[in-house]
């Protein structure tokens, strides 16, 4: 079983755990004042989230992370494949954590993200 810093539900769901692993790597240095929901799956970092990032399905997570681009993310938001509950502006600024994180990712972390993305 994969370890993740978030409380994952459903607890035994492998896809949820893989999503947790990806989130842990990408948001390693970010303030964990938010939660993530992907369809029915939830990654809970805090009981008092400032915002919740919502994806309609693991497929949307995969598409957005593999082809990361602000234009595509904006289209996903308009189509409701991606949404933010709570503080919208703080939620959108989470992209900065990803932008800052990207150049610091080690090869092993990139492979781990890719491995998990392809299996969700």
């Amino acid at each position: 079983m994969f370890y993740t810093a978030a409380d994952v539900s459903p607890d035994a769901d492998k896809v949820a755990r893989r999503l947790g692993t990806i989130a842990d790597i990408l948001f390693r240095h970010a303030r964990k004042d938010f939660n993530i929901r992907v369809g029915d799956r939830e990654l809970r970092y805090t009981n008092h989230p400032r915002f919740v990032i919502l994806f309609d399905s693991p497929r949307s997570v995969r598409r957005l992370l593999l082809r990361h681009n602000e234009y595509l993310a904006a289209e996903a938001f308009v189509d409701k494949r991606l949404d933010i509950e709570g503080d919208l502006i703080a939620g959108l600024k989470a992209k900065n954590a990803l932008i800052e994180r990207a150049p610091t990712l080690r090869l092993g972390e990139k492979i781990k993200i890719l491995f998990n993305l392809l299996r969700i």
């Binding site: 234009y71 289209e75 308009v78 189509d79 409701k80 919208l88 502006i89």
Partner: protein, 296 residues
Amino acid sequence: MPRHTRAKDQRSIAFHYDLSNDFYGLFLDTRMAYTCAYYPQEESDLEEAQRAKFDHIARKLRLKPYQTLLDIGCGWGSFVVHACKHYGVTAHGVTLSREQAEYAQEWIRREDLEDQAFIEYRDYRDLVGTAQYDRISAIGVIEHVGHRNLARYFDGIHRLLKDNGLFLNHGISRRRDWRPNPGSDWIHDHVFPEGEPPALSTVITQLEDNDFEVQDVENLRQHYSRTCADWVDRLRRNRERCLELVDERTYRTWILYLAMSSIYFEEGEIFLYQILSSKRVPRFAPVPLTREDIYE
């Protein structure tokens, strides 16, 4: 570099501003001011901040009773009405949006300001040669003008301004080294076609090239970030009413656009500059020795 023709400018303005007055009413303040507000206190709300913005501009322009004011791109007429009611000027507003012009003219009738204020659906370029004004304001216009037209824009304003006049340009600027990016492409494609905010240095160069003397420059990007955040809050609070006017995709496009704009201002991708200028003439401009009068 996009070409800005009159027809294209009219289509772009109509695309952005003719969505419906009721739609804009869901997130703007009661004066329908769709430009950066000015928050005098940390706890000021949008209503107070928009009023303070108009006072800030009026004080910078040193508006006095019976002066003539031209407001280029007057929107729904908020500054024209404010300047007439509180500063006693005679104001002429022009906009490229029919919906805005009709709304503004009706507002002027309601306020009983028809002797003092007049709003037209008209291109500011058509006014050149017809009159000269003591004061000219252009609030949120320059981002629509386009780089190719900047020289003509400032030349036109120079011709419309009296020799002892003052001109205040309040507009969005980009960083000088700005390049298109996927986020700006999305805004261009879905919300703000032909938007082309120039760099501050470009605006100042154009002002100088067109015989203006720059008096003051103020950056209000903190204020615009907060204004956009307030608009996002209001639009989200009015979601149900908004969905009676537009579809869900349009609603989501707008909250995203306003939220992205707030972030761009916060992160210094874009700025809001108020630039006060006078004509370059061999005497002093009509501004006092210090700027204390603005803050009294």
